[in-house]
Amino acid sequence: MARLETWTSKLRRTNAKSDFQPANVSPDRRKQRRFTIRLWVVRNARFFEWFYEKFANLFLFLHPLWKAVGYHRAEKPVTFVERHVKGLLFNCRMCGQCALSSTGMSCPMNCPKQLRNGPCGGVRANGNCEVEPDMPCVWVQAWNGASKMAHGQEKIMDVQKPVNQSLRETSSWLRVTAEAAQAKESVKS
């Protein structure tokens, strides 16, 4: 009986014969910008920590405004701004649950394994990534950043919960603000 052609036999037959071979990096990297800005942010982690705190307070201060406008109506424009600002600065992946203050201002979702609690054991001797030999390890950067920050080294010790994938592509800013406002109210009452 003649064997039916399967995926494997197809792969073996067709692989590596065409002229076009994509660049030999992981799909993650293909989507990424160059990491110059991301590294610059980590070098200035102290400033961004300060700025982020002020910024979060501003957002919280504006809570009545968000409520008046309606969080659901604010969602679209805020998410748009957040995506592009954080995308430029941190190579943000819009996981929707920002942990930058606990990760030395180095976005952990840029790690090919998406580790959120520290570096894996595969970091190269030169501090580059195991998966992407020419990319500096996200967590080596995170540790550098955390050492520069006021509370970075305490906060890097927080155990991060598993990512809630259903929150992807949502605004972390609005969620944190709404939660902070709720916490403030419950303290008052």
Partner: protein, 363 residues
């Protein structure tokens, strides 16, 4: 039951290979002999106690030819299907391992196929799986690396070509009987028979359908399937199940993906005095209608949380025509084992962590 369906040396060991058979299991033998096969579904425990699996399997004994071990059905977390199958094969049951593509990528799935086969699993049902939003942990990452079709092809490649997807050689292939699922009740209706054809080409040797409550629609589907000659290339098993009440039926219709229940069924249940009994009667009637449809090779009874009724439903519908599926033989040391089991139940539970604590505090 044919006497050849039992391994005389060990009930849990595979049967002798037969020419033309892909597996060494009972389900394939029953189907290939042309007997009307019955399978059912085991409600997986939320527990690490193997006895819970054994208890839940024991109620099917002598009534079914295969027991589906569901893989986190509805995206709810339970004991893994591979583990359930491994436990069941020890006792001599014929489990059908369900693999859903939602939770595992191709590396894990190929490993599971090899491992399951090594544990004596003879049947594998390849599914795409419900989305994670349907379950109790909607924040989980949906994997869906393969889909049911590519999973079938993967398993078939491993079995027939003795290779992984990468092309790397497997020294001893997983000799399994490959199954898939069909849903004749979901749109696009005219594409459904073609999708079955595609699944057969990908490697499906038997299929189990979604709950069938709309017999005319199923008959229509089967007519096209028979016209295409698909029932000769693949054993088609219709899925049925008793509805506990009209309320459950409504809930299922709106919450379980892919379930189609016509209004007249719900009206009938509502009109009945004892809804549960009526649901059972309805299930039996549907089974009797289905077994007369050309091209149907068996029935898959999904009696979620009503597993104790499976025996009764199968008996009353008469679909087995007097045949008795495999049942564990009482062996001479069974009484001894039973006695020991009784003792174990009465014995104080030994929890290692507590015992260590006690020992530490005593010194």
């Amino acid at each position: 039951m044919s006497i050849s369906d039992i391994n005389p040396l060990d009930a849990g060991a595979p049967l002798d290979p037969l020419p033309g058979h892909s597996s060494r299991g009972r389900l394939e033998r029953v189907l290939r002999r042309g007997e009307f096969a019955i399978t059912s579904e085991l409600n997986p425990p939320d527990s690490a106690d193997p006895n819970e699996v054994y208890e839940r399997a024991a109620i099917f004994e002598g009534w079914v030819d295969g027991i589906n071990a569901v893989d986190a059905s509805g995206a709810n977390c339970h004991m893994s299907s591979v583990a359930i199958c491994a436990l069941l094969t020890r006792m001599g049951y014929a489990p059908i391992l369900q693999i859903a593509c939602r939770d595992k990528n191709r590396i894990a799935i190929q490993g599971d196929i090899l491992g399951a086969s090594a544990m004596g699993v003879q049947n594998i049902l390849c599914l795409t799986g419900d989305g994670v939003q349907a379950g109790d942990q909607p924040g989980a990452k949906p994997v869906f690396d393969l889909d049911c079709m590519s999973l079938l092809e993967t398993a078939r490649t491993m079995r027939d070509e003795e290779r992984f997807l990468s092309g790397r050689k497997i020294t001893y292939p997983p000799n399994v009987f490959l199954g898939a699922a069909i849903n004749p009740f979901a749109p696009p209706h005219d594409f459904r028979p073609l999708r079955l054809k595609k699944k057969i080409e990908a490697g499906a040797q038997f299929v189990q359908s979604q709950y069938c409550y709309d017999v005319p629609m199923f008959r229509e589907y089967m007519k096209r399937v028979v016209d295409m000659g698909l029932n000769e290339k693949c054993y088609i098993m219709a899925g049925v199940g008793p509805l506990a009440s009209a309320k459950t039926a409504r809930w299922m219709r709106s919450n379980v993906p892919g379930v189609h229940i016509p209004d007249h069924i719900i009206t009938r249940l509502e009109g009945a005095e004892k809804q549960k009994a009526e649901g059972k009667r309805l299930c039996i009637e549907i089974m009797q209608e289905i077994k007369e449809i050309e091209g149907v090779s068996g029935i898959h009874v999904m009696a979620y949380r009503q597993e104790e009724f499976v025996a009764e439903i199968v008996h009353d519908s008469g679909v087995l025509k007097g045949r008795q599926p495999w049942k564990r033989e009482a062996v001479s040391d069974a009484a001894l084992v039973a006695e020991r089991m009784e003792e174990l139940v009465d014995e104080q539970k030994q929890i290692p962590a507590e015992m260590a604590e006690n020992a530490a505090s005593n010194t």
